[in-house]
């Protein structure tokens, strides 16, 4: 903070680099407004929805791919391709194909999906063979086996995917909002800050995004810990 303040002083122009004090002042102005909270709510909902869908669909596809070779052969190359596509290409494609209100959700989904898929797939592959033998010998019913053996084994891989995925969902989701200039979104606020050379607002909203990303990560990891074997 001190270094930032010194650099801001030496630059001497608020529109190039606002000082921390100016950013805090802008935050103090923003926080009591209704607009601030609706903006946050909208972006939070859309980006979280994209992340959650990716977590569910990615895990489900990974389970199917681990169980059926044909699904693996079909889905793994597709997911690898999605992983290699630049975020900007996705955003522009989605803008062409879909309603812009869904842009952040679809972008976050497409960015997080390959991470969850790859991690969960690896987790399933790395399950302890000896525990699977135990389940086979005792003929443990599938549902019980999933809860007692599979989920706890895959959970560390899923948690790692969530940790990386939450941050990426926010980065890509907000980038999509900026490019798409989505009405009432955090991305639109960043875009306005650029247009009006308002670096105090730009940095204030960046602080908000980082805070939201960290908070989301904490919530997601807390939820993951509640799954079977999560406290281990």
């Amino acid at each position: 903070m001190a270094v930032w303040q010194v650099i801001a002083w030496s630059v001497g122009r608020d529109f190039i680099l606002a000082s921390p004090v100016a950013v805090v002042e802008r935050l103090i102005e923003l926080v009591p407004t209704w607009d601030f909270w609706t903006t946050i709510g909208l972006s939070l909902f859309r980006i979280t929805l994209g992340f959650a869908l990716a977590a569910v669909v990615g895990s489900f596809l990974a389970a199917l791919a681990a169980a059926y070779g044909i699904v693996d052969a079909l889905v793994t190359p597709l997911v690898s391709a999605i992983r290699s596509v630049p975020v900007a290409s996705f955003i522009i494609l989605v803008l062409l194909w879909a309603d812009s209100s869904k842009l952040a959700t679809i972008t976050a989904f497409l960015i997080v999906l390959p991470i969850v898929y790859a991690n969960v797939f690896q987790g399933i592959r790395q399950r302890d063979r000896k525990m699977l033998e135990f389940a086979a010998v005792f003929r443990v019913p599938t549902r019980r086996r999933i809860l007692a053996i599979d989920v706890p084994a895959v959970l560390p891989y899923f948690a790692a995917a969530c940790r990386i995925g939450v941050g990426l969902a926010w980065k890509s989701g907000v980038a999509a909002e900026v490019i798409g200039v989505i009405d009432g979104s955090i991305g639109e606020r960043l875009y306005e800050a650029k247009i009006f050379l308002d670096s105090a607002s730009l940095l204030a909203w960046t602080v908000v995004i980082v805070g939201l990303s960290v908070a989301c990560e904490a919530v997601v990891l807390r939820l993951v810990k509640r799954l079977p074997g999560g406290a281990a």
Binding site: F134, F138, A148, A232
Partner: protein, 200 residues
Amino acid sequence: MKSPIALRKVTRRYDDVVVFDKLTLELDEEHVTAVMGSNGSGKTTIARLVLGLDAADGGTVSGLDGRRPAAVFQENRLCDHLSAVNNVCLVLDHPDRAYAEEHLRRAGLPDEAMHRPVRTLSGGQRRRVAIVRALAGDADLVVMDEPFSGIDADSKADLVQYIRDRLRGRTALLITHDAREAKQFGARVVKLPARAVPNS
């Protein structure tokens, strides 16, 4: 009447190493058969064949169809995050916590250890949970691979009594290197010749 479990002229190799060659062994129906031998003689491999976890490279393994197996593995293979009671309930047809507790108590597990994750239990306590898990259910074939490993000699009596009670009327294979253990269960002893290969 089920056909007896029999290994006939069974050969098993791992890579190029022959664990045993043309081994013939029949398990006594509703009794304990103890297989004894030094390390590397293939005791655990026999257990795996009987449990259907390994296939023979030659010969036949018969009498496994329609069996309901259970096992005390060399390693406990417990679900670490589950309690002792839940580990037992996991394999019961109709999970019943009171029933599981009663069995764990009979096997010498203290009450305070019943509901903690088994990863927090001592080695001996974990072994007792693994034994109860194999014996509390309705299995008609029980394979026990060195069941007393990690159990203190002075706290063994109640466990021996529990196992003896639960094995009554069941077909069991006991893998051990201790002749006294085989005797405690009135087992017929089959000795394997020593071979210089590592245990699988």
